[in-house]
């Protein structure tokens, strides 16, 4: 499964749930597949999607918050797992698209092949689910409806050469429409 397919499978199950998408190709895939005001696209500040998601989850306990993260991104902010695992937001779904590389910068390897992110998640008090295929991912999405967070979904992604279009919305507009979406 390539990342865009996985992003599409998850976004099809979302209505107005809030999504924080990490910088790089993850935000671009989400933008291309399903652009909505309830998506917060990061265009910089690598590593911080999960932290922004935590802040949102704590302040919006009645809404489900999705973080679309990458392996390179979470490895840059592993401390975030500790803070999330300590505060245990019930409504946080932390999705990690793991392709074992920094694809946006030319495919350089990350160390997610050497240290298991799912085990890091488990030890940090997450309920962890792993998917290698679209079929598995769909089953997990059904299963987590009744699971109390924090939830981690680690999705194994294949390398691919497809690149989604760039986000053409101004950062301040991304923010303004997202803030409106939170209130709805």
């Amino acid at each position: 499964m390539i990342r865009k397919e996985a992003v599409e499978i998850i976004s099809k199950t979302l209505k107005n749930q809030l999504v924080v998408a990490a910088n790089g190709y993850i935000s671009r895939d989400l933008f291309e597949v399903s652009d909505k005001p309830s998506n917060f696209y990061m265009i910089g500040s690598m590593g911080l999607a999960s932290s922004i998601g935590l802040g949102l989850a704590l302040k919006n306990p009645k809404k489900k918050i999705f973080v679309f993260d990458g392996d390179g991104n979470i490895l840059m902010n592993l401390g975030s797992l500790v803070t999330i695992g300590s505060l245990k937001p019930k409504n946080l779904v932390h999705v990690i698209y793991d392709n074992g590389m920094h694809e946006s910068t030319g495919g350089q390897p990350t160390n997610s092949n050497n240290v298991r992110i799912d085990l890091l998640g488990k030890i940090a008090n997450y309920k962890v689910f792993c998917a290698d295929s679209g079929k598995q991912l769909k089953l997990i999405l059904k299963k987590i409806r009744n699971v109390t967070g924090p939830i981690m979904i680690l999705i194994r992604i294949e390398k691919n050469s497809y690149v989604s279009k760039r986000i053409n919305i101004l950062p301040t507009s991304i923010k303004t429409r997202f803030m409106k979406a939170i209130r709805n």
């Binding site: 910089g44 802040g55 949102l56 302040k59 997202f178 939170i182």
Partner: protein, 162 residues
Amino acid sequence: MKESVQRKIFNYLLGKGIENFIGVPDSTLKYFVDQGLKKKRVIIATKEEEAIGIAVGMSLSKSPSLVFMQNAGFANSLSTIASLVQLYRIPMIFLISWRGYLKNDAPEHIKIGKIQSELLKSLNLKSKILNEQNWTKECLWALNKFKDNECCALIIRRDFLD
């Protein structure tokens, strides 16, 4: 800055509507942070950039946030302040301690302490230095910036050696 003033500053900001205090502890700010811990309003992050990220999520939810840190952590956070907080225009107050303000502070603080004012200027992050006389006025200045959807910094000098 003495203990009672630090505690008053915390209470003042809380009373004026700042709901979340997120950061990495620092000895110069310890009574401020302690007051927040007592009031159960503090989240301790693993590093300053993480604290800023959490505060962004809260500010997007219209819950006003302050991020506290030592100036070493401020130096760590330059890129996050520029490419997240300022780029998206997210209102937030930074409370930054100024290690290396005294020329004979510990050696690891001298360089950052020396360039701190220039770093703030280069970022175009507006700031005021708090002291025991002016703190109400300068906190009010920061709260007004916040209302105008801007981020800004309040600085507390390290005025003692230990």
